[in-house]
Amino acid sequence: MSELTLIIGGNAGQGLESSGAGFCKALNRGGLHVFSVQDNRSRIRGGHNFYLIKTSTEPIVSWTEPVHLLIALTAETVDIHLGKIVPGGAVVYDPSLEIDEDRIKDREAIPIPLPLYDIAGEAGGSKMMANTAALGAVAGLTNFPIKHLLSVIEDNFRKKGDKVININKKVAESAHDHAASKFGDSFKFNMEQQNGAQRMVMNGNEAISLGALVAGCNFVSAYPMTPGSSIFEWLNKHADEYGIVSKQAEDEIAAVCMSVGAAHVGARALVPTSGGGFSLMVEALGLAGMLEEPIVIVLAQRPGPSTSLATRTEQADLLYAINASQGEFPRIVIAPGTIEECYECGGRALNLAEKYQTPVILMTDQFLATSNRTLDKNNIDLGAIKIDRGALLTDDDLDKIDGEYKRYKFTENGISPRALPGHQNAIFKTTSDEHNELGEIVEAADNRIRMNTKRMKKLETALADMNPPKTHGLEDADITFVCWGSTLAPLTEAMNRLNNETSNTANIIQFIDLFPMPVEKVMPVLKNRKRLITVEGNYTAQLGSLLQMTTGVKIEEHILKFDGRPFSPEYILEHLKKLEKRGRNG
């Protein structure tokens, strides 16, 4: 197995994001595995941004901190990341940055001054193409076949025309040759082409979008908000091809209200957003609960409170999502941890919403939403997501209906057969006021009790669809980590390392289905553990609180992070040590 971690760092506005994503693709085409991390500031220009790609000949569990190859588009990049360079690693930079080579050599790393701007200029390109040059150089240094990079360039710049394609290709090739010939021998880490299974590269938002598409999503409305909006953008891009109505709304209130209207008449509606936008949606979340409309809100978390660190990551909205909006009504909250689970949940959320005729909140975070990973083509099974429209009445059903149609019929399981407006036999009312089976406004106490109970009943019914947490690692271990969402990846790597040192030191319980909490399925998994530690990207250990509230299990130890950056395996292991020290000292 050979592994390599690469960082391209520079200023906002230098196009790192698309270069990084493009290079992930190139690596994938070369048969390598990748796991990327995107680190942006909330500004258009200036200030340090970077894109980290871990790549390997074998499947990758998580990104890790040590860096083999640092591409510095600014001097600041070197200052910030040099400390993570491994011995034998290298730093690539344009000589104009005037980097002190000795600092690099002090870390037993190789300084690789490359005239990136000149190379770009000579090929007829602009300064902005220093990126492309850098990637070409990376290929040159690591023996990675340049053809994959060239093919990605072709695909990505197709819309901009042949001229742009050719200049970019020329820049890449020239930098490749330059780097290979001058520094290829001194840099020892390689990324050689692998042959084998065809894989895809995808981030969480893309996987959710694809899952939703496959599950029949045909209505998406949103107001732009990082990191939720790229789901809107993906579905919007595919709208005409796949028959989707996509609407950028005037605000998030309108976005979610549009989804309620769309769902009411029979569309499969999804609304991606982040915390601030979600806050504007909570009134209508309750509306959907009351009207029993199936909508899916994707809540891609970022740090709070308020605007905070707009382009970064956090997991601090869990209890909020579960309790948002006045009064009590059923909702379902799920949070995938891997790209495959994002795909699955994207589809599942739409099914659950329609089956239980109630809002579903699918939670992710910036790390999961934007981190690119390779996955086996077959792991995304387009046939695996089956559309389930629940108790939806077809025109045929309605043709045959006799008697009055009751939209909110009292049923044992709380689910009432659902008609869409437009049929002669089922003219019906819906209202956010308390109502009777016919949807008429009714204030009587007995009706209120029955109707509220009917709605809440759906939470119990839905327990059948709520899965117990997944477990990773062997049954029995000294430490059982408890996590949700994006934390799974770095935590798995941390667990593997612990178990490599001493077998069976650690295992993991990962929660995907968070609300309603299927306590009876959870208890067998949680109980009889030697030591439970939650690992969460927030300040107050919200999953811990949720578990204590629902299962009564109190988890005393936590590894937390709330600096806007994703967990790394190294961070987890380091903080585990701190816990142990604290524990040992009392």
Binding site: N218, G243, C257, G261, A262, V265, G266
Partner: protein, 287 residues
């Protein structure tokens, strides 16, 4: 032939006797019957307020939503099933205070709905606070010394926002109101009907009498040209002894929002059904 009776629903309105909402309700049903639209083809989207209860008393599909949000909900419904005739009914507080932003954006998008504002210049259901259309000096339980705000001018606002059908009716002028609603139903695109609706309980100023004395019909003025935006704006400023009702402005032939969408060219979204599969090729995008 559709009859007004087809819209009969066995629930008695809870509006105060004499409330202007009765007139609007009657006009609403007559206009739909006249246009030969069947109840099951209609979806009335309303907000929260006295007027927003209209669909509760009428044999139509109804979607009574949140205070101020009906236009956004209606937009989603309209774009997903444009075979339904979507009509909004909501108050001045609902529409011009809480819902003001949705109004502006619905206008410029030319969403194909008929939007009826039950404008009583007061908050009825919450018992008498001033509303955005309350006139300066108007005394209510929250403006004890009289309102100090210039009132919202819905007509001017809709014109400025680019609406293609901007009109005003009066609950006391039934025939005229029926005609207006019919014109709005026939219009393709966003159609606003601001209706003077006397609130007999909380608004003792803007009464039937008040309006009876003042309203005159734009379409009875020989020289009025409702395709002239500037003229419409000028008329929108008229308020005093003479107050115009009728169609202030209409721009025909402007495509509606949904007509721009290739997806909806042949049939409405929900008529397409859900796609049954996505071709394997989509994966190439990620490779």
């Amino acid at each position: 032939m559709v009859e007004v009776q087809d819209y009969y629903y066995p629930l008695k309105p809870t509006w105060c006797p004499g409330c202007g909402n009765f007139g609007i309700w009657n006009a609403f049903k007559s206009a739909l019957a006249n246009q030969n639209i069947e109840p099951h083809e209609v979806l009335v989207v309303s907000g929260i307020g006295c007027g927003s209860k209209l669909p509760d008393y009428t044999r139509v599909n109804s979607l009574m939503t949140l205070h101020g949000r009906s236009l956004a909900v209606a937009t989603g419904a309209q774009l997903s099933n444009h075979d339904l005739k979507i009509i909004l009914a909501h108050g001045d507080g609902d529409g011009y205070s809480m819902g003001g932003n949705h109004l502006i954006h619905a206008c410029r998008r030319n969403i194909d709905v008929v939007d009826i504002y039950q404008n009583n210049k007061i908050y009825g259901l919450t018992k008498g606070q001033y509303s955005p259309t309350s006139d300066k000096g108007f005394v209510t339980k929250t403006t004890l010394a009289g309102s100090i705000e210039k009132s919202v001018n819905p007509i001017a606002l809709a014109l400025a926002a680019g609406a293609t059908f901007v009109s005003r009716g009066f609950a006391g002028e039934l025939e005229h109101l029926i005609w207006l609603i019919e014109e709005a139903l026939k219009h393709r695109g966003y159609s606003m009907i601001d209706v003077f609706q006397p609130c007999v309980t909380f608004n003792k100023v803007n009464t039937y009498q008040f309006y009876n004395k003042r309203v005159y019909k734009l379409q009875e003025e020989n020289e009025y040209d409702s395709s002239d935006l500037g003229a419409a704006f000028a008329k929108s400023q008229e308020w005093g002894d003479r107050i115009p009702i009728g169609i202030f402005y209409q721009k025909k032939g402007e495509p509606t929002y949904q007509e721009h969408l290739p997806v909806l060219e042949n049939k409405s979204l929900v008529k397409h059904g859900l796609r049954d599969s996505v071709p394997e090729e989509i994966k190439n995008e990620f490779m």
